[in-house]
């Protein structure tokens, strides 16, 4: 079954370029501003949208994305509202894939079966759940794949050749290669090691490989997509949100455009 994600990678392959995957937190800094941000992402140059599902205890995220999640939660964001946001986005855009990224507890509490029905209905295409390694596949991964939802796996520098087959056994859409040991937004990726690892992982999977963690500039995006099929930018965009807020921490007129400008800038790196 072909999904929006599969179709998007096929189109990009035909165009001969890599994907720009953009991460923003749903509801950051508030629902309406966040919806404006995601609605403008495709035009700014995003090929795939990763929508962060806020969680109080994001153990793999650095301070920037933690703060974004807390801003969204403080303004009343819930998983239900995040799905509503996807639905509203779909009214005007039926092509750009949306991947929900977060932690398992909100989905578990929502109820896995109910969540998959509602996420499909809303128009979400894939899931990245940080705290569900292959060892826990029957929790959400297998039910997702059965429901036609891509379950995208994180591969890391610790995913060695011995472990890789297990990591890629049940997965679809694309592979998200975490380029650094550590949390989001911490250190810049070492481009040499990215190249070597992407090429190593290709021996284990035919899926497109996107690289993220620590990517902030067009130049990094250009270098990474020489080898990878896509590049993920997250903390830099959430920083752009944070820096655009007023002293009370509220959105300003500049908030959506601050994100879109940065996306357009980094998109040049992917398209050059």
């Amino acid at each position: 079954m072909s999904t929006r994600i599969d179709r998007r990678f096929a189109e990009l392959k035909a165009q001969g370029r890599a994907a720009l995957v953009t991460f923003v937190t749903a509801g950051d800094p508030d629902y309406d501003t966040s919806l404006k941000i995601i609605k403008g992402l495709p035009k700014a140059g995003a090929d795939i949208i990763e929508l962060g599902v806020p969680f109080t205890d994001p153990m793999a995220d650095g301070p920037v994305i933690q703060a974004g999640g807390l801003r969204a939660l403080a303004n009343g964001q819930t998983l239900k509202k995040t799905l509503k946001m996807v639905k509203e986005f779909r009214v005007s855009d039926d092509a750009t894939p949306i991947v929900l990224m977060g932690y398992y507890n909100p989905i578990y509490v929502y109820g896995v079966d109910r969540f998959l029905v509602d996420a499909n209905k809303a128009g979400a295409d894939g899931l990245i759940v940080v705290d569900l390694p292959p060892e826990e596949d029957d929790e959400l991964c297998l039910p997702s794949m059965k429901a036609g939802m891509n379950f995208i796996r994180l591969a890391t520098p610790t995913t060695d050749d011995e472990r890789a087959p297990k990591v890629f056994e049940n997965t679809s859409g694309f592979v998200y290669y975490v380029s650094v040991l550590g949390i989001t937004g911490s250190k810049a990726p070492d481009l040499k090691s990215v190249k070597a690892n992407v090429n190593r992982l290709r021996k284990h999977t035919a899926l497109p490989i996107c690289v993220g963690f620590g990517v902030k500039t067009a130049e990094q995006a250009r270098m990474i997509t020489k080898d990878a099929d896509g590049v993920v930018v997250g903390s830099a965009l959430v920083s752009a949100v944070a820096n655009s807020l007023n002293k009370q921490g509220k959105a300003t007129a500049k908030t959506p455009s601050a994100v879109h400008k940065l996306v357009a800038e980094i998109a040049k790196g992917v398209r050059s």
């Binding site: 109080t56 205890d57 153990m59 509490v109 929502y110 705290d131 390694p133 994180l154 610790t158």
Partner: protein, 404 residues
Amino acid sequence: MTNTVPNSYRTGPDERGLFGIYGGRFVAETLMPLILQLEQAYKDAKADPSFQAELDDFLEHYVSRPSPLYFAERLTEHLGGAKIYLKRDELNHTGAHKINNVMGQILLARRMGKKRIIAETGAGQHGVATATACARFGLECIIYMGEVDIARQMPNVFRMKLLGATVVPAKSGSRTLKDALNEALRDWVANVEDTFYCIGTVAGPAPYPEMVRDFQSVIGRETREQMLKREGRLPDSLVAAIGGGSNAMGLFHPFLDDKDVKIIGVEAAGYGLKKKHAASIAGGKPGILHGNRTYLLMDDDGQITEGHSISAGLDYPGIGPEHAWLHDMKRVEYVSATDKEALEAFQLCCKLEGIIPALEPSHALAHVMKIAPKLPKDHLMVMNMCGRGDKDIFTVADILGVKL
């Protein structure tokens, strides 16, 4: 899920790290290979008699085990019912049960060749124990502690620093124990090669709940032996306080298959179960946090809520997964005690027994005060005195309106 009575309550977890539906390995992929490596290293160590011999030697000569099983005569007289024994784990080196587990994990870290130790701490007892063992073996030690806890547990922060540890404040979220755990996990993800994460309670991803339980079970094994020697039979009931639940699991586990032994865990009811509290079983529901599925305090959206207890050591929005299972199986009864009840028990214990208890076991004692008077005089009750209260005198003085 069926709740049929198993042949034994002591065989868990299964190969996936599960106790019933609880436990598991809900961690980021970066950590997964390490978790598997740790599991194997622990399995090997457990099967190696020289590991246990080395641990036993340190427990005897460094920690000062076995700890006494003390008949609390005046408390018994005062309450007028059950015969109350206190398992004196507050007499351990560093003043709490935490060191039992730390010695085990640090010896394991040495065996694995890890040179850098990280840990989280709430009240500071686990942090002090970890800093102590690291000093003893010359290992680098980094302790994550919530900013709020740092402010209310200054003496322990200073102790850790004296012992050569670096104390890093956790500044995110509620800035207490759960956030310290988040920060420790973030450190581990970034430093997988050389770092050993020494978790302080029976929670976290497998194999931690099992490993910490095994290291703490020395409490229950000794109690069993000591009681048989003193009274010629097993106790009728066991009572212990529960935050994450390591002192309780240590006391309970060796008795789980003795069906005539009634077992009671006491959660922290804070200001009361209808107000702010830290009783995950009484007021929470199953969810996933810090690598395991267990009872958690959270809202309808699955967001973790902040617990409250007068005791920084019980102020955690979750509970070890094995406790969650024992609750569902109805093998252990989980009850709670409020801040106020714990404070009364704290004062009573000081006056009647000449023992200043930590605020954590004061919760257990508060429950003993509720049930002991109604029980017959030949009822043998063991309460785990898992920590001493020196660290808490400032908190208590503050609440009693005394300026030090």
